[in-house]
Symmetry: D2
Subunit: 361 residues, 4 copies
């Protein structure tokens, strides 16, 4: 048990605060002899890196990852992999205002309630900066899963503006600063978020993450269900308030025969005629794409003044300066991919434990 | 790590199949000296028990729980509590049809893909019968939480028919077979579900579960967030396809200043002016009510014939006879309460571990 | 985490008190499709069963095990296996004396210190009766390990009387009531223990347990070392006060070149010229027999009166009546085998998780 | 579950290889608001540091620890504490000989059997260098335990030479390079080990570790017994081959009335008239000193040539050069203390979880 570890057999432990000297993680349980260098991890970090457009925080972090252990002559050894990223662009003085006052909608108040002490600089441990290590771990999880599994995510709704799913094109996702799969939505979103940003406000979003090539049988009843583990993993991303699998909340409005994905044999293979299940039945993968969506609330740190209290128990009004994302949903896209990868890699190892056939068995 | 255990310090391990001799659970970590008899558990099981209205399965099970260990002279001893319920109304012959064919939307196919063997009688381990033990464990979790925490759930949507939230009245919930908090919705739902049932179909639903009296500070970053643990716990209930906390998916459409719950001091106490957060910020309780909603898909076992395949790889059409709930969402209400109770009790013990002040400390 | 579960992937959770209605266990993580009936478990329970000679407690328990879940048509399904044994020969009245007084050397005092409540009947949860479920779980662990791994234990010392290792013969172990591998020692031990028993006293013992066929590579650094896990598992058996692997404490007196087991190639295979290591180096199996020894203290419940205190804080003298083993070390023999089997089965699954080659990998 | 983590609630995860850029650990679950700086940790590391006498490896490492997270303004925050020590005196070329040949008695062979890859430089992950992080974690564990608990260890046997227990004096332990509590033994040991060292050989040892002030009630049945957890923790230290608690292996030769520690009331307090139990009954602390002893085998890396094989399957003779401890038992003294501290701190938190009285409870 650990508050700062994720996964059971592919196990990620993260540490570090937004404005400490560094952040890092330790990955335990990774299979040996996988080719691994920093170059396998860095591209995913670059995708999540702040300061890349006007729609993300202006904090400048190179986010250069270093591998400190677990790799020998370019291959994993089966021992723990330690990753470290130095923090270089901390401006702790930006945070004087929130040293005593609690940002509404943020974890400031609850950390104080729990611990009686709080590293307020940049949100300390509660900062989304921690998600950089999730992304790094996710890159290694992809190596564990191998090339037959592909994991992609996209922003499918910005504020109240959803994409037109008829125009969904994965090829568009890396062509715009929103990870938007609908090219026609991009200029509309750009204008909308620019305006919101000028107003000192922020927007929520919906991210969809899809894993293809997940083998049927992955996952496990009853308290290790693939969808339950995904729900926990995705809800645990900063600012997420909802998770759904497949048809999700829309399934509540369906009739049994609409919801149950019919099956046929085609060329000796099982084919499903729809994917309301989002690739999971009884907590176990069907072999169809695993589809999850998450709702992300608007950034709580906004310039617009809001009523709040301070640690001394006074009513105050707070306008959060500093460098913040007008829509944290955007940078949640690579994080959602990473959590999907980590959950699947963990389940791959769990499945092998119970079902695999080691040579000596 | 365990596929069939839930929780870390208040730890529930369940076992048993729908048509085996019995189902049961073991609860480990329960504090000692709590008054506990079967009478503390039975009322919750009775609420979930099948056969109580035409809207739930007609299987007749007394669901009498027996405490086999962990209690001495009416008090818990701190050692594992073993609970057992005998299965009495199995009709395994009902399941001949699904011995070889896979019910679409059900776990039949995925269990075979995973294990290569499957107890097809009544769904075996994948049956919602397992949730009886969650309810039993939840009853004990409530004792751990004490009287200051109250946990209630209600059905807030049946199929596409949502309640009118202006008429939400907890007092109504136990007055109708739907656990519906809106008295005016009951006859409408009754007529609708009766019709669906006659047609041999089924409906989905949405359940809302609310915990009041949760102390601020409960929960923990980063991978033990209260909302993440709730999401995993609730998504793991049979047939659940979506989970949201507080404003949930609606938060995606809000602006920062609409979403952030403002805070004021009133009579020396912190007061929030709204509860978009659903009582959780940064994974830690704020002290407001913890509010979650889950989407439940329509029952997959329906009379309406659906296309599917059998284990031999033939296309077949399957009409599921046997005794099934036309809306599994109804009986999910006490189960959702139980999972909320188990998550909170586990976090209470986790919190005490790190923060509590044992005499010797 | 759990106080009453053992193992990580082959996970055993036990429950039950000496004088409750039953004892039982749940085994999670067992691979599917293994042939399993009660007849695979019962012989091991019979070996541990009380009342078989004058040297063990006279309590009469049939110790008939029932499988309540996890097996379908004679094969494991991969879901949790629930085992139950009814208690039939409880004589709780024997324990009136220890309801308030603490037996020196027993857990009576510490349970009260910890929990403030204690099921004193027969020692409650602290009774060695719990080890019946370890033996049952061990029988299933052997099935997981397969026929290539054999696990045997023997009593190599009774009180101060050690066997002559030159006469060590596994074939003798089941030919006498001591599980003694030295036929010449049996009459000597018989006379000695009979005398001790008449005197109302008890004796300690040393058990040696050996696993052959353990594949090289099983085990794992750094905190999952095979020897560390064995040490924990064996020290956790009731009354055990010491554990050693291979040369054990004698290794402290050796020089480096005496202790390091030399290696040679013979017919293309690695051969070790000695086994001081007891089959484990760096926490990982070498392929040699895994050898452990445990020291068991003499039974604390003796007729000889001993000075002690009662719960009210008075000095008293206590003579423990009831039915007790004059040497608990004897019945520890099948228990030690079982713990060895559980540790190895757990490590087999752990190894497969990280190293195995699942089809999709 | 994790191969490289120790403890459940006070949870230590270590990483790093002997000749990588650094070693480190992450400590999760530490209570907040404890005063903590590097100066609280460094003295314990200095005690374990190599190169301090001719009886330990001549590798020169400053072993300067840095705290990278989890501490704010000199106090723990309740979030993970990351510690890092840079490796500065690696001489990887020393290890060319063992790149292909397996040192008998060392983990070289088993790592290759398990992982198929091995960082042979200085033993890689299997190096005792990893124990530096155990010592660092132990320093923090002591802060969690508070001042009422004291933990000390001493070398009580060097090779075959045991101390005279009548001369046992804790004050002597820090006055000689052996951590020897018997001043008269020091010159004898010095002469003996000097001679062994000159001969290119090595010696084993026995370490005794004692914790005083452990409150009665700490620990837990059945699979979280304090002695079982200690046995696992201590056996997991590099080169340990045996663990005993209290009377240990000598208990096997005792009669019941000799072994059972009698109890009396003195001034309203429970007093034990002996401590054969080593402070633990039924897995739970009695309040007496917790006493454990461990047997450490002689260093496997010796100059004396020994027969072995290489990775290509050839018989070779190997003389291990490089810098090695002629008796690894010496530096195991602070490591044994650290593991005792970690086990007790973990159990303190576990006890609080189940038994403590948090304000809201």
């Amino acid at each position: 048990m650990s508050h700062n570890s994720f996964g059971h057999l592919f196990r990620v432990t993260t540490w570090g605060e937004s404005h400490g000297p560094a952040i890092g993680c330790v990955i335990d349980g990774c299979p040996p002899r996988l080719a691994l260098t920093e170059a396998d991890i860095q591209p995913y970090l670059d995708k999540r890196r702040p300061g890349q457009s006007k729609f993300t925080t202006q904090r400048q972090e190179a986010d250069r990852v270093r591998i400190l252990s677990g790799v020998f002559e370019g291959r994993t050894t089966g021992t723990p992999i330690s990753l470290l990223i130095e923090n270089t662009d901390q401006r702790s003085k930006d945070y004087a205002a929130i040293a005593s006052a609690y940002r509404p909608g943020h974890a400031d108040y609850t950390y104080d309630m729990k611990y009686g002490i709080r590293d307020y600089r940049g949100g300390g441990r509660s900062s989304a900066r921690e998600t950089a290590m999730r992304v790094a771990a996710g890159a290694i999880a992809r190596l564990v899963l191998g090339r037959s599994v592909s994991i992609r995510a996209a922003l499918v709704q910005l504020g109240a503006l959803a994409i037109d799913r008829a125009r969904f094109d994965w090829a568009q996702v890396d062509q715009n600063p929103f990870f938007c799969p609908d090219a026609a939505a991009v200029p509309v979103w750009d204008a909308h978020l620019s305006e919101i940003r000028k107003q000192g406000s922020s927007l929520g979003a919906v991210v969809e993450v899809v894993a293809e090539g997940v083998p049927p049988g992955l996952g496990a009843p009853i308290y290790a269900k693939l969808d339950a583990d995904l729900a926990g993993a995705l809800m645990g991303i900063n600012a997420v308030k909802g998770v759904e699998i497949g048809a999700g909340f829309a399934a509540a409005s369906l009739r049994g025969e609409e919801n149950a994905d019919r099956m046929r044999m085609e060329n000796g293979k099982t084919v499903f005629l729809s994917n309301q299940a989002g690739g999971i039945l009884g907590g176990i993968a069907t072999g169809q794409p695993v589809v999850a969506r998450i709702a992300i609330k608007p950034t709580s740190s906004i310039l617009t003044p809001v009523e709040t209290i301070d640690a001394a128990g006074h009513d105050v009004s707070l306008s959060t300066r500093g460098r913040h994302d007008p829509c944290v949903g955007i940078r949640a896209v690579p994080v959602a991919e990473a959590m999907m990868a980590c959950v699947l890699a963990d389940h791959l190892l769990r499945h092998r434990a119970q079902l695999g056939s080691a040579p000596e068995y």
